[in-house]
């Protein structure tokens, strides 16, 4: 079972890769010892979005469905966490609020996905229908300023957004600061390894086969629609996890984290990184979030112009993504070098078989 972390669907299966992986993980684990709490908090903020990026890589890169709806599910779970945390009260119930809100997002994905996938919506239309749903949700939430828009004690509050929910709490302990950082590292570790196992499993085999040729996959006896729906729900649920964590982190959420330009961000992270690989998505998204945050301090608009330019540059120059492209180039070079040393027997991908 555990051996599935390696396989044909993931780049980086050799010893060298896992040693590097362990080194990065170790650095991440000891980082709070050396950094001040402000930087740790900032780091946590970047990590929150990683789930949404990994989910998009699964749906788009592996499943071949171009969804523009990641912030739709981010918003549903983000608002869902807020509403549930307020209704159920603070304390340990916030953990239940987190889990429930992610399920609500996944359920919403199941409903929307059912109509689209069973309606044979694919390709570009999949993108624009999900985006239409996303923008409509943002518009709707923007118009809920009046006091009549509330769920229990939770006011939706229009453009100003919802606030007043507790952050994630266990007993008396708020999950904030360094604790939140470690929780996020653990969640990302589990998600990343879990997704690697998923895409290298028999289900993963079918998911990528459907991306390549849905009709052929159906002719091998697979109900293509069910696999697509499953992929869509898992990936969208991960966007939901980002949303719930985001609300808990800042104790507020506004419609602007759903609508434009927010909806474009996950697309840019994943397209730039290389949608077809989870590791590239993880690394690239983190780098972009870091860079974006650094520039945003000076001018948010400038940062967004840059993100737009990056997306344009990616599709024009390296459609498979920059991180994947660079990794492939490095891999080829490495193969040449080690090939010379070991006389032509140096495959990077020694996994499988």
């Amino acid at each position: 079972m555990l051996s599935l972390v390696n396989g044909p669907q993931t780049n980086g299966n050799g010893r060298g890769f896992w040693l590097a992986f362990l080194a990065v993980l170790t650095m991440a684990l000891i980082y709070p010892v050396f950094a001040d709490s402000y930087d740790v908090g900032n780091f946590s903020y970047f990590l929150i979005w990683i789930f949404m990026a990994l989910g998009l890589s699964l749906i788009w890169g592996y499943g071949g469905m171009l969804t523009f709806g990641q912030t739709f599910f981010f918003g549903i779970a983000g608002y869902g966490y807020g509403v549930l945390a307020i209704i159920m009260g603070g304390g340990t119930a916030t953990i239940a609020a987190l889990i429930l809100s992610v399920f609500v997002a996944a359920f919403a994905a199941a409903v929307l996905g059912y109509f689209m996938i069973w309606g044979r919506i694919s390709g570009m239309f999949f993108g624009i229908v999900t985006l239409a749903a996303t923008l409509s949700l943002a518009f709707f939430l923007g118009q809920t300023a009046g006091p009549e828009w509330h769920i229990g004690g939770a006011r939706l509050n229009g453009f100003n957004g919802m606030k007043g929910m507790d952050p994630l709490t266990v007993g008396e302990v708020y999950i904030e600061g360094t604790i939140l950082y470690y929780v996020l590292i653990a969640l990302i570790l589990v998600t990343y390894l879990g997704l690697r196992m998923l895409v290298n499993s028999r289900i993963g085999n079918v998911i990528v086969a459907i991306r390549e040729d849905p009709q052929r996959a159906e002719m091998l006896g697979y109900d293509v629609r069910k696999y697509q729906l499953l992929t869509f729900c898992i990936g969208s649920g991960l966007a939901g996890l980002s949303g719930a964590l985001y609300t808990s982190w800042g104790q507020f959420i506004t419609p602007s984290s759903i609508g434009l330009p927010a909806a474009a961000m996950p697309i840019i992270w994943v397209a730039f990184s290389g949608r077809s690989d989870l590791t590239a998505t993880l690394v690239g998204s983190f780098l972009l979030l870091f860079g974006f945050q650094t520039i945003t301090i000076y001018s948010q608009q400038a940062a967004l112009v840059l993100m737009g330019a990056l997306l344009l540059a990616t599709v024009m120059m390296m459609p498979q993504g920059f991180i994947v492209g660079i990794a492939q180039a490095v891999g080829r070079r490495w193969q040449q070098l080690s090939g010379r040393k070991r006389s032509g027997n140096g495959s990077l991908q020694s996994g499988e078989s």
Partner: protein, 288 residues
């Protein structure tokens, strides 16, 4: 009685005009090249800004609107040559490329012109039917929407350009072999699409606040109309807009704008479940 009926028609006409004007340009680009232009909203924004800028300089409104539409069209041709034409074989990438463009333009505009400029106000003038009064400008918008539909029909069915364009739409390779300059046809078609988007912005400029992100106000409606209409602009757009306008109008009237918008989206999702290829597919089948 008559005035109530007219009031219903007026509300329908208002939504219908919005859907047709917002989506016509997008539909033409999609129908001809199979590309969804994610920067469609920015061409609308461009039309609106040029109109308001010219009116503030003293140009009469109708002239400003026409100039604005042409400006957007010319910029469209430029964008087609510089960016879009590389992506006809990769339609999904064209979506991303134009989305990148859209981000650059909206955020760039926010830096350059700031968040809002002085508006020009809706042209006055109203008329009464029974006890109700109605805005004349809204009726002009409805007339413009009809004119756009008729114009598209005439352009594609009755002109030489239209015949070549339709041949290209059917089979680009064959049209090229027969001497059609498909590259130029695509550029002109994209320009027409952008021009119609600019026209939409120009026509609605007097009725709304201008901000660089205003394209987003139109884009949902234009997307859903194209999705419901399907690939054939000539057959799909008008009935799609009519159906959606009916749904929207009845929901608006009973439950208000918010439910109207959400309800329309639900209608769209239900329609694609039943008619995956949109209206043009059944109409095209009927025609065969």
């Amino acid at each position: 009685m008559l005035s109530e009926l007219f009031s219903l028609f007026y509300q329908f006409a208002d939504v219908f005009a919005f859907l047709v004007l917002a989506s016509a340009g997008l539909a033409i680009v999609f129908g001809m090249m199979g590309v969804i232009n994610m920067a469609h909203g920015e061409f609308i924004m461009c039309g609106a800004y040029v109109t308001v800028g010219l009116v503030n300089l003293g140009v009469p409104l109708p002239v400003a609107q026409i100039v604005a539409a042409i400006t957007a069209g010319l910029i469209g041709i430029l964008i087609e040559i510089l960016v879009v034409r590389r992506f006809y074989k990769r339609p999904l990438d064209s979506l991303l490329a134009t989305w990148g463009l859209s981000l650059i333009v909206t955020q760039g505009m926010l830096i350059v012109v700031g968040s809002s400029i002085r508006g020009i106000g809706t042209p006055e003038g109203s008329f009464a039917v029974g006890d109700y009064t109605f805005s004349t400008y809204r009726m002009i918008l409805f007339a413009c929407a009809l004119a756009v539909l008729v114009g598209i029909y005439v352009l594609f069915m009755r002109t030489r350009f239209g015949i070549i364009a339709r041949a290209t739409m059917q089979n680009a390779g064959m049209a090229q072999a027969l001497g059609a300059r498909t590259g130029r046809i695509y550029a002109v078609s994209f320009g027409i699409g952008a021009g119609l988007a600019g026209l939409c912005g120009a026509l609605y400029a007097p009725t709304m606040t201008l901000i660089p992100t205003m394209g987003a106000t139109f884009i949902v409606e234009s997307f859903v109309t194209v999705v419901v209409g399907g690939a054939n602009v000539l057959l799909g757009t008008a009935p799609a807009a009519m159906l959606l306008a009916l749904v929207r109008m009845s929901l608006n009237a009973s439950y208000g704008q918010i439910i109207g918008q959400i309800g329309m989206l639900f209608a769209v999702i239900a329609i694609i479940r039943i008619l995956p290829e949109g209206f043009s597919s059944i109409l095209a089948r009927r025609g065969r």
